[in-house]
């Protein structure tokens, strides 16, 4: 991922200086290349559309602000008459997105039809403008079928002048990889090939036998490994986008541990002829919980496939593949999955009806969602999100405030009475917050006697101050556990803050 990000910000100057050479090289390649004819190339190139996006994130510390805009360019694929496929990474937190044709003569504003942050896929279509002219010379490409290890693939890039730049690679392995949203793993081909930088190289189409195999999600320049999202996942995504309501990939809601350790196996009374995964966690209200799976069960079979000690099963096409593909990559929401469990050594069969993962106290991702906040008298209250914690930098897992990390690690301790966790993220020094300036990262329990479930309930609670003209704010941990805020003073401050450029005092 890093490499591609770097590519996106290389200045145009650097490219123009080496453009001549590249063109020659490309032509030379074409003549010697027997597998792709010039015509075939032209036809394939007709399915590619450049995408330009302006990306802006929300500020974690000042949640009313957006960060300075950044530009990203990618190469998308025309998958139907007017719909263009790209990665979610390209279409996340965008302020503006547009399509551009290969020779950069036409541009067209676009909008996101569907986006899946977990699988890292997005579908765009024109927003308005001269659609007919733009798509006149373009032809949609067909989605291909599964590849095998050893298959040759072509990664396509376009030069500034619209000439194709093709990198050949060979699929070396197939694995379950998380390419965008943390902790969501999907079928990915890993191919070996040496890529060079060209424009529009954020995400790229990968072609096999004239059909779309997948999208490049990342390139590791050190090992020269190209990660390609598999066609099965794209097909499932596209099928989901057929109607207006995008659902997303299913989940079963268990946490697991391997059963390789022979001592652990003896204790679990597992015989040598079974593999199995030890269930360490059941997510609340998940498919697993409803199916009656319990902590401590050992999953030995999913839909008739034996699950090995490390969680791998034998896939007909790919060989050894991680079990999660049997759920997330092969099924859709509402499908029934047969599981065989061992509970205290006894075999037990259950059927789980797959669902979307339920709401969590701290959402694992909040892309495209503006942070919800309230400014009161200089106090900035927010709902805790993974995005907020990650804003503490690459080592946020140790740098972020300990009490907030604890919520992430043990949400069950904080769930009672809460939809979201509201905390005091910072204090602006104002006449109302005199003496409170250093307060931050305090988790809110109650305001004016009302339990705080989320920002909306916080806003309501602040509308009912005490008869003594004071707001009472109670924290989950002190010290101090309770503080007071003058109603009149904080209202005056609020009006001042609006005058000084905070666009709104809250966002629900």
């Amino acid at each position: 991922m890093k490499f591609l990000t770097t590519l996106a910000i290389i200045s145009p100057l650097a490219f123009s200086s080496c453009c001549e050479q590249k063109k020659i090289a490309t032509t030379g390649d074409t003549q010697n290349d027997e597998s792709i004819s010039y015509q075939e190339k032209e036809t394939t190139a007709q399915s590619f559309v450049r995408i330009n996006a302006t990306i802006q994130k929300w500020s974690a510390s000042q949640p009313w602000d957006k960060s300075a805009p950044a530009k990203r360019r990618a190469l998308g694929v025309l998958i139907s008459d007017t719909r263009v496929l790209t990665t979610a990474e390209m279409a996340t937190n965008i302020t503006y997105i547009e399509l551009e044709n290969a020779d950069s003569t036409r541009r067209l504003p676009a909008k996101v039809v569907a986006i899946d942050y977990e699988a890292n896929l997005a579908l765009l279509e024109p927003d308005n403008g001269d659609t007919e002219d733009f798509f006149k010379e373009l032809k949609p490409i067909e989605l291909g079928t599964s590849a095998k290890i050893g298959d040759k693939i072509d990664v396509w890039q376009l030069e500034d002048n619209g000439m194709p730049l093709i990198t050949e690679g060979t699929i070396q392995s197939v694995d379950i990889v998380s390419s965008f949203a943390d902790g969501h793993y999907f079928l990915t081909y890993e191919a070996k090939g040496s890529m060079q930088s060209a424009t529009s190289s954020f995400t790229l189409p990968v072609i096999r036998n004239g059909k779309l195999l997948g999208l490049l999600s990342s390139y590791n320049s050190k090992d020269q490994i190209i990660d390609v999202m598999a066609p099965e996942i794209i097909a499932a995504f596209l099928a989901d986008t057929a109607d207006d309501k995008y659902v997303g990939f299913p989940s079963i809601g268990i946490g697991i541990s391997s059963t390789v350790d022979p001592n652990f196996r003896t204790w679990l009374k597992l015989s040598d002829d079974v593999g199995g995964l030890y269930v360490t966690r059941i997510r609340k209200d998940s498919a697993a919980e409803k199916a009656g799976i319990e902590k401590g069960d050992v999953v030995i079979e999913i839909n008739g496939r034996d699950i090995g000690r490390r969680g791998y099963y034998s896939d007909d096409n790919y060989g050894r593949l991680y079990w999660s593909h049997l759920i997330r990559g092969s099924q859709k929401v509402g499908d029934k999955v047969n599981l065989t469990l061992l509970r205290e050594g006894e075999e037990k069969k259950v059927i789980a009806t797959l669902e979307r993962p339920g709401k969590r106290l701290i959402a694992s991702y909040t892309y495209d969602q503006a942070p919800r906040y309230l400014v009161k008298g200089g106090f900035i209250f927010q709902e805790l999100t993974g995005t907020y914690l990650q804003a503490f930098g690459t080592d946020w897992k140790t740098k972020a405030p300990l009490n907030l990390l604890d919520v992430l690690a043990s949400p069950e301790d904080y769930e009672e009475g809460r939809n979201k966790l509201v905390f005091l993220s910072a204090t602006i020094p104002t006449p109302a917050t005199t003496g409170y300036e250093s307060m931050r990262n305090n988790i809110i329990n109650k305001v004016n006697g009302e339990t705080i479930a989320d920002i909306s309930s916080l806003i309501k609670a602040f509308q009912k101050p005490g008869s003594d003209g004071l707001h009472t704010i109670e924290f989950s941990h002190g010290p101090p556990k309770t503080i007071y805020l003058d109603v009149a003073a904080s209202d005056t401050v609020d009006a001042q803050l609006l005058k000084r450029g905070i666009p709104a005092l809250s966002r629900e």
Partner: protein, 509 residues
């Protein structure tokens, strides 16, 4: 604050050995000119000479325990510091100069003789120690330095000692720039009165006297890495308290009042508690469970005075004409002393009493010196109790471990768990080779029994009759560590041999 202040530790041996091993002759010992000293009468030179004689060089050979592999002998090292004579065979110095020492040698100014010495009392919480030499005869004629008072701001002081850069005595001069209540970096958990001076204080100066008008006004002890010309000394109230504490033959440590306060600056807060603009008093924000004020003070009490000394809205009080943190009153008290606390509770003024007492759980946060690291091993698993030393040796990232450490006292965790037992290492062996992801977590239970101390964990892992399985559950991890009972003893023996573990456990300090 702790991060930026450095221990002015003892100059390392490496530096010292690289210096030419020249020993000064007595003939060279002309005292330096001293124009700024209080104008002495004519026989000034011998007077100065005798002060120098009372300031000694302390050479420590140390053995620092290894908290990462606690069965090892540790690191042999050493350093140089300064000390001074305050009475018959009583040499005062810093605790950090002599901590973990295996051998101590005292050298008089201008003499080549090294006199073996030993620690009589050591107070890690205020970084002071009292030493004596085996044979005091050569020191008999030396002057005993007198302990003075807290010097005034901007007044001039001299620092004398044996800092890096040479073997001979060194004198620097500066003015008192700040008197504050601040951190003592030796224990990493204590705050006492500190006097900041702008004289150069360097490694080796530690333990040396800071003089004014011929009297000791402080003991040089630490510096600041991020700032120039800032040296810190331990002022005499702290020194006096130490000397008084040891009068009964033992050092009993500082006692703490055991409350957290919050300044009453906010107008809304003041209104809620019915305090006028000018009223004094600070908010009691939390009371340490089982501490001296548990059951005496409550959250939301307003503390207005301690022993009649008014406490202002920021929690400061006036002592000897200086505004200092109210803890300074408590600081000068001893275990068993009573404090009279004037408070406002629910709008009513009242006076309550608390009796100060030692609070052993606070040891969790103090660096331990001169003790053996406790641990036990079992089938290649290394278990150690959590404390500041362990925390410094292993950088724990597990949120639960960090949380247990941070809230050990304020959430009363110490009441149930004398030790937080951490799995710090898995020494690879066939019996544990598949255990992964458990290192750096706290042990929650062994065979269903909650782990409350290292000793108890050790006993649970070494029962008379082995169970079928040892089931070791770590906090936050559902998958337990399983060690078959019939393989445990053999695996323990094997790892002890293979990894050179000289003693399989050390259960007491």
């Amino acid at each position: 604050m702790l991060k930026s202040s450095i221990r002015l530790s003892v100059a390392s041996l490496v530096v010292l050995t690289s210096l030419p091993a020249l020993l000064p002759c007595m003939a060279q010992l002309n005292p330096p000119a001293n124009p700024l000293a209080p104008l002495p009468p004519a026989p000034a030179a011998p007077q100065v000479q005798s002060i120098y004689g009372s300031i000694v060089r302390i050479e420590a050979a140390t053995q620092v325990p290894d908290y990462r592999e606690p069965w090892k002998a540790g690191r042999f090292s050493g350093g140089i510091g300064t000390g001074f004579l305050i009475g018959p065979n009583r040499f005062l110095t810093n605790a950090h100069v002599v901590s973990n020492a295996r051998r101590l040698l005292i050298t008089m100014h201008g003499s080549p003789r090294k006199h073996p010495a030993k620690i009589v009392h050591i107070a890690h919480d205020c970084d002071l120690a009292l030493l004596e030499v085996e044979d005091f005869t050569p020191f008999q004629t030396l002057q005993h330095l007198q302990i003075g008072n807290v010097p005034k701001l901007e007044s001039q002081v001299r620092v004398i000692g044996y800092p890096v850069g040479g073997n001979r005595i060194s004198v620097t001069r500066g003015v008192v720039s700040r008197i504050d209540f601040s951190s003592y970096s030796h224990s990493r958990s204590d705050q006492h009165l500190v006097v900041q001076i702008d004289a150069a204080i360097n490694p080796g100066n530690s333990g040396g006297p800071v003089l004014q008008d011929g009297k000791v006004v402080g003991v040089a002890f630490q510096g600041l890495r991020s700032a120039d010309n800032t040296g810190y000394m331990i002022p005499t109230p702290v020194v006096r308290r130490f000397l008084k504490d040891i009068q009964d033959g033992t050092y009993d440590k500082y006692v703490d009042i055991g409350i957290t306060t919050f300044p009453m600056f906010n107008p809304a807060m003041r209104r809620k508690f019915g305090l006028s603009q000018t009223a004094s008093g600070v908010l009691v924000a939390s009371v340490t469970p089982d501490g001296p004020c548990d059951g005496v003070l409550k959250n939301n009490d307003i503390l207005t005075a301690i022993n009649g000394n008014t406490v202002d809205a920021a929690g400061n009080t006036l002592i000897d004409g200086e505004k200092v943190n109210m803890n300074e009153i408590v600081e000068r008290k001893f275990s068993g002393d009573m404090l009279k606390l004037s408070i406002i509770r629910d709008g009513k003024a009242m006076v309550v009493n608390c009796t100060l007492k030692p609070f052993p759980p606070s040891q969790m946060y103090s660096v331990q010196y001169g003790v053996k690291p406790r641990y036990t091993t079992f089938a290649g698993l290394v278990l150690q109790p959590l404390d500041r030393n362990l925390y410094a040796a292993h950088s724990f990232t597990n949120t639960r471990v960090r949380r247990l450490f941070a809230h050990y006292i304020d959430e009363g965790i110490f009441k149930e768990r004398q030790d937080i037992v951490i799995l710090t290492r898995v020494l690879a062996d066939p019996v544990n080779t598949h255990v992964s992801g458990h290192v750096g977590t706290a042990i929650e239970s062994i065979n269903g029994k909650k782990v409350t101390s290292l000793k108890q964990a050790h006993d649970l892992l070494h029962p008379k009759e082995a169970p079928e399985f040892f089931i070791i559950k770590c906090e936050g991890l559902e998958r337990p560590i399983i060690v078959p009972g019939n393989k445990a003893t053999e695996a323990s023996k094997r790892t002890e041999t293979n990894y050179g573990i000289s003693a399989p456990s050390q259960l007491s300090k």
